[in-house]
């Protein structure tokens, strides 16, 4: 079988598996968030937290809980890293440097998992498993909670109430993420992912040299890193490391994990608004964009244009043999279409246009299918913008799911959309204007600009992958990228919750003849079109100076 045919089957089998998971997982998540019963463990947890699980919150109160939880998480994670030398399983590592600890605390709390550090030489086992991995769970649960609150805004009428953040957080963690992660971790161990608490132990190799084999509780962290679209690797080389991603089928499994929640949430959305077709429309937009993206990416990588790829005869630089070019390209595409940012190959060494695709995917706003929760709310914002644009064309007040999209709603949606381009482009501009920061580039010319643009795009969209040649472990980059991650995560969340609040307050407008149907292929095409056009208008100039300039001679 040729590599191309095998690659098509590889991607096709993932599409099939995700399609099969759509209904059962989406329905399950619907029951998790719509249910009114609390399990005994959950009651105990609520008592320990001191939250009343049946007390509903307004959008502002919900947002304050999200922010309070996140602030506390950042401080806790910062302290954890700074004190790691006093703790168990520190492997003898020093406290993480201040700016790096700050950056990392933010990075994991915002579901970005940007890594300015190298796991195997910086973080002890305890910080990894009880600090970083905990955020892998809860930051994903926070994302889903905010998405569910938005969907409640569409589904409810004449109410100030959007649910209870603590209940959504706890249920998402305990009923969705934890059980699947546990099973997934065991499956990964079967594939060869390690789960131990060893210090690096030195062996003598066949050739007589010394090699230190590292250990760690990797399987338990690897699985939630993908499933919660986090992406922070236990080791520096992330999912390329044979102890994180040992074999060909674990690679398939990890790609599946990082896509499955985000692709199934539209079903949950459809169920909650009482019309499954609306869920199908949203997932159709996601799938259309994703399939086009993965096709282009695979084409660029397999046709290996460019000087060095031509010299090599294949885009094999920065690619492990067991995955090969095709499966690596699929992973790279999936990780940047979601907010995962895990990598099994190094995007910096991709062909110019393949590298551009990874950036373009993030610039789409990570909505196809995006991060856990953040993908769904991002796509719903784009749907709101689409009905608004369509409404402008025919001169009617637009509606979506029986809710009027008035000026207040559009302001929230437009503000949401503007945040990430501002962070990404302004950050890049500052970095390029400062000579010390320009020196962080590993490559010169357009590719160097690509590295900086990638860094700020990745941070602002909470992705976490990198054109990893760039040196970002400096005070300036740690601080600037940390700010981009904070703004790129929490401002959009506040706008989403604000929108949810104003939607929930409305009544239900019955559909009339002039209402744009939002479950037909026409609407799917319009949302996809609006997404691509908005992104192209925003980012094309920056891409033209970077990867396009490099790739097109």
């Amino acid at each position: 079988m040729s590599t191309t045919v095998a690659g098509i089957l590889f991607t096709g089998s993932l599409v099939l598996a995700l399609a099969l998971a759509y209904r059962p997982l989406g329905d399950y998540m619907y029951r998790v968030y719509a249910g009114t019963r609390h399990s005994r463990v959950e009651r105990l947890v609520y008592r320990l937290i001191g939250a009343h699980p049946d007390a509903e919150q307004t959008w502002a109160s919900y947002a304050r809980s999200v922010l309070a939880f996140s602030v506390v998480s950042v401080l806790f994670l910062y302290g954890f890293q700074r004190l790691q030398n006093h703790l168990l399983l520190s492997l003898g590592f020093k406290p993480v440097m201040t700016h790096q600890a700050w950056n990392t605390a933010i990075s994991f709390t915002t579901n970005t998992n940007w890594q300015s550090y190298s796991g195997e030489s910086t973080m002890g086992h305890l910080v990894q498993m009880a600090g970083l991995a905990v955020q892998n769970f809860v930051s994903a649960a926070v994302g889903i909670a905010v998405a569910i609150a938005l969907v409640r805004g569409f589904a409810r009428k004449r109410t100030e109430h959007l649910g209870n953040f603590w209940v959504d957080l706890v249920r998402g963690t305990l009923r969705i993420l934890l059980p699947f992660a546990f099973i997934g971790a065991i499956i990964l161990v079967i594939g060869g992912v390690v789960q131990n608490f060893h210090d690096p132990h030195t062996i003598q190799t066949l050739a007589g040299a010394k090699q230190a084999i590292t250990g760690g509780p990797v399987a338990s962290q690897e699985v939630i890193k993908e499933f919660g679209t986090n992406g922070g690797g236990f080791y520096n080389v992330n999912s390329a490391h044979p102890f994180e991603n040992p074999t060909t089928w674990t690679n398939w499994f990890e790609i599946f994990l990082l896509l499955v929640i985000s692709f199934s949430l539209p079903r949950t959305f459809g169920r909650m608004v009482g019309n499954n077709k609306q869920g199908y429309a949203i997932v159709a937009v996601m799938a259309t964009l994703a399939i086009i993206s993965v096709t282009l990416m695979s084409y660029f990588q397999l046709s290996h244009h460019g000087t060095v790829p031509t010299a090599i005869g294949s885009a094999m630089e920065g690619v492990d043999t067991r995955f090969g070019v095709a499966n690596s390209a699929t992973f790279a595409d999936a990780t940047t279409l979601t907010s995962t940012g895990a990598v099994n190959s190094f995007h910096d060494s991709y062909t110019s246009l393949g590298g551009m695709m990874t950036m373009f995917n993030m610039m789409l706003g990570e909505v196809a299918p995006g991060g856990t929760g953040s993908g769904l709310y991002g796509m719903l914002i784009l749907a709101v913008i689409t009905v608004f644009v369509a409404g402008l064309m025919v001169g009617r007040t637009p509606e979506y799911l029986g809710k009027k999209i008035g000026s207040r709603e559009v302001k929230f949606a437009a503000s949401y959309f503007l945040i990430t381009p501002i962070c990404a482009l302004v950050g890049t501009a500052f970095a390029m204007a400062l000579p010390g920061e320009r020196a962080g580039m590993a490559n010169s010319g357009p590719h160097g600009l690509g590295e900086v643009l990638y860094a700020f795009t990745s941070a602002s969209n909470n992705n976490g992958s990198a054109f990893a040649g760039i040196t970002v472990n400096t005070t300036w980059y740690d601080t600037a990228l940390g700010l981009a991650m904070v703004f790129g995560r929490f401002l959009p969340m506040i706008f989403v919750l604000g929108l949810a609040g104003s939607l929930a307050r409305q009544g239900h407008t019955p559909a009339s003849e002039g209402t744009l149907p939002t479950h037909r292929p026409q609407f799917v095409g319009m949302v996809a079109g609006v997404t691509v056009i908005l992104v192209a208008l925003t980012f094309l100039p920056a891409l033209a100076l970077g990867p396009l300039a490099e790739g097109i001679h």
Partner: protein, 307 residues
């Protein structure tokens, strides 16, 4: 006494984080660890360690190794692994990829070519990705007795790249050069550049410290075949720097040299390669590959080196 709302909010957040840390950060990883102690899972969870011909642990089945002597020269009795950017090569405590881009084609030449390795360590000199690919291809070709020629490479094994200096035309190209420099061929290291003239101008060798960026940087394709004899994985750094595999093509390329070093037939080496070759799972997942370490252990067991 009732605390203000914002304080209660944050207290709830602290308590929530602590409770969830105990559940997802302590109980859960320990539970996975306990399950992974079951026989069958245990060895994998501990790192898939593997024993050599003498029964001693020599590494992990999943982690690649260098099969070179202390000077970095290939040990001829072993099938060689891919180039690695992890530390000084296959170092699991500092995993890394090269992260060099597809148009990284101009070297920074050392001031003293005899001390190039030191200058690379000190970051005053650097081989571009293209030159790394070309020099590896030449080295592998020489070792295995095949042609190491590749597109955009000089016969000497550096990137065939010219800086074409002169006035630019309207589209930004230099059509009538006044000076042409082969930027990766250092004067004194090469006796003459890989081509004598370009657009009628004699090609010069390059000098350390001079900046040729003003010219139009032009890679020269040359006549090497698009599919060179030395396979792609032999000339590229992997993603992990710990890649335990090589392509079956690269393994077979090394068979005659390994057979000669061990005094056995090529067919015997090829049979050992076949034993350690894995295909795609279900026919379409992953790529065909050969586990280097397992192969070399099998060779040591079956055909120990004499003397």
């Amino acid at each position: 006494m009732r605390l203000p709302t914002w304080i209660r909010q944050h207290l709830a957040a602290v308590r929530a984080l602590l409770v969830l840390t105990v559940i997802t950060g302590v109980i859960y990883p320990l539970a996975v660890w306990v399950v992974a102690l079951i026989p069958g899972l245990h060895d994998r969870a501990q790192g898939s360690m593997i024993k050599g011909a003498d029964g001693k642990v020599v590494g992990s089945r999943l982690i690649g190794q260098s099969f070179t002597d202390s000077g970095g020269n290939p040990l001829k009795q072993y099938v060689q692994s891919r180039p690695s950017n992890a530390g000084t090569g296959y170092d699991p405590t500092s995993t890394a990829a090269s992260n060099l881009g597809p148009e990284d084609i101009v070297d920074t030449l050392p001031k003293n070519p005899a001390k190039k390795a030191d200058e690379i360590t000190a970051k005053t000199a650097r081989d571009s990705l293209l030159t790394q690919v070309c020099s590896r291809s030449k080295a592998v070709g020489d070792l295995e007795g095949v042609s190491g020629a590749r597109p955009f490479c000089t016969p000497g094994g550096v990137g065939a790249v010219l800086s074409v200096i002169g006035p630019r035309d309207r589209s930004g190209h230099v059509t009538r050069p006044t000076r042409v420099v082969s930027v990766n061929e250092q004067c004194g290291v090469v006796t003459k550049p890989f081509i004598a003239t370009y657009k009628g101008v004699a090609v010069e060798c390059a000098k350390a410290g001079e900046d040729y960026a003003a010219g139009e940087i032009t890679p020269i394709r040359g006549t090497a075949p698009a599919s060179p004899q030395v396979p792609a994985d032999a000339v590229t750094g992997s993603a992990s720097g710990l890649d335990p595999h090589i392509s079956p093509a690269y393994a077979r390329l090394q068979a005659p040299r390994v057979a000669k070093a061990r005094g056995i037939s090529v067919a015997q080496v090829l049979a050992a390669i076949k034993d350690n070759e894995d295909g795609r799972v279900l026919g379409f997942i992953g790529e065909p590959r050969v586990n280097d370490l397992q192969l070399n252990i099998e060779l040591d067991k079956k055909y120990p080196l004499r003397g």
